[in-house]
Amino acid sequence: MDRARTELLVVTLSRLLDGARTIAVGASSPIPGAAALLTRARSGGATRVLMLGSIKHNSFTDGGRELFDCAAQGRIDAFFLGGGQIDGAANINLVGLGDYPSLTHRFPGSFGSAYLYFLIPRVILFREEHSPRVLVPKVDFISAPGTSAPRIYRRGGPVALVTGRCVFEFSAGRFRLASTHPGEDAASVRAQTGFDYDVAGDVPQTPGPDEAERALLAGRVRDEIAETYPRFAAAWAAAA
């Protein structure tokens, strides 16, 4: 694990969560989980984290459906989704490559994306690999669409896409390059992105953690994420 990159991603995701009252984190999401815990640690008690797979950071007592019911009730402000493929319309594919159902490569599956993408106001797309094979012109399978026609019931959707190279913001059905991570610039991002997006003026660099954040990351956040993602936390600690 590259510690600096991991911590940059955690801090970047965490900033996108600012002001969220309740953040939910799905399965197999150690970096988003750490980001949510960092936001919580900085919130002075104003943010609640609901993390699938956690016993401690879990307020749920109604089984696996409660996260989804809770989202439908409007009680969840922010959530993360990823994708084996993501396209420029923020459609995401968590199912596989090829002409479904004749797949050449299978991903785990759509999880709750086909639902939560519609219902949670602030969905942050996160995929560390930033390459033309992930960020494609059009996904092979739409697990969940980035936008919907006006007549379709939809109360939420994507606000940003964070990758290992940059931050894109999403609005009006298009991505816009918001910042590039250290070592990248607008041109290097363009070269690795398979979909079309907007760039407005000079693109700033994604800021890394400040001192206070660094201390929380190395302490409380890493300790807390270890309960749900022990191998991730151990690798993070070893890289420190």
Binding site: P30, I55, T61, P108, G109, A114, Y115, S143, Y229
Partner: protein, 273 residues
């Protein structure tokens, strides 16, 4: 006599017959790997699995062992240990009928069976290729608002709900704590078949404190004792997942030959009970 039969794990899985629709829980709930071994040993075929709403090693083993004809799941993955190799191979090799879905659709369709209603409406999904490929789902107009399309899902009524739990009492009540997807599974299924860590004295329903986390005997058909019966998956706060054993499985099962060798060892292992 009413009430579940306390039996051996071999007899427990004898209630599962080829072609049956079997509901299995997610890794964070109560997965009966002990029963998984007994099913594979018995060579039960043509199962239709419904993951509630995802599965991991359990589905992967059963697919690899050739027990599964069809699988409905929102995802199959070994989590931190990576992709589910036998599941992925079966999809690419087209030896498994896959019904892709999304987590809340599984929960809602089981709730429809629980409530004895033919279908349940669900938000989201419209515009997704999941919906486009689910010819068994229907989009209707919300009867309470014109021009508002909404997906309706037919009820999923499993023949069997198969899970592992911390304890049962002698009346056959099962304590599952707050893992209430197991309650919904049990209500929705015709019968529940359950392995438990132990049988305890007294009634789990006698005291409000334990009663709150009980699947009543009313829903349970057979129970077998299987200490550490979820291993290498974890169970509540009783034992954690054995990450090394899951990673070893993930590595072995990358190839068909590697999986066969792993399976031989798994089947040969003495059942925990």
């Amino acid at each position: 006599m009413i009430g579940p039969m306390l039996t051996t794990i071999e007899d427990l899985v004898a209630a599962i017959r080829p072609g049956m629709l079997v509901a299995i829980p997610p890794d964070y709930s109560g997965v009966s790997i002990a029963a998984t071994r007994a099913i594979a040993r018995r060579g039960i075929r043509d199962l239709r699995l419904v993951a509630v709403p995802t599965s991991g090693m359990q589905a992967d083993i059963l697919v690899g062992a050739g027990c599964v004809a069809e699988l409905e799941a929102a995802a199959v993955t070994l989590g931190e240990a990576g992709p589910a190799p036998r599941f992925n191979a079966a999809i690419v090799g087209r030896t498994l009928r896959m019904r892709d879905t999304t987590c809340p659709a599984i929960h809602a369709a089981l709730q429809a069976a629980e409530k004895g209603i033919p279908f349940m409406p669900l938000r989201g999904l419209i515009g997704s290729d999941i919906l486009a490929n689910r010819t068994d789902w229907r989009v209707i107009d919300n009867p309470f608002a014109a021009g508002d399309p909404i997906v309706t899902l037919p009820a999923i009524r499993p023949d069997v709900a198969l899970f592992h739990a911390a304890k049962a009492d002698k009346d056959g009540n099962i304590w599952i704590g707050r893992r209430r997807e197991l309650v919904t599974m049990a209500h929705a299924a015709k019968a529940s078949i359950v392995t438990v860590e132990e049988i305890v004295d007294g009634s789990l329903l006698a005291d409000e404190a334990t009663a709150a986390g009980v699947v009543p005997a009313l829903y349970v058909e057979r129970i077998a004792v299987a200490p550490r019966g979820a291993w290498p998956i974890g169970l509540l706060d009783i034992y954690p997942a054995d990450e090394a054993a899951i990673a070893a499985y993930a590595a072995a099962a990358r190839t068909e030959a590697g999986f066969r060798k792993w399976l031989d060892g798994f089947l040969a292992a003495k059942a925990a009970a």
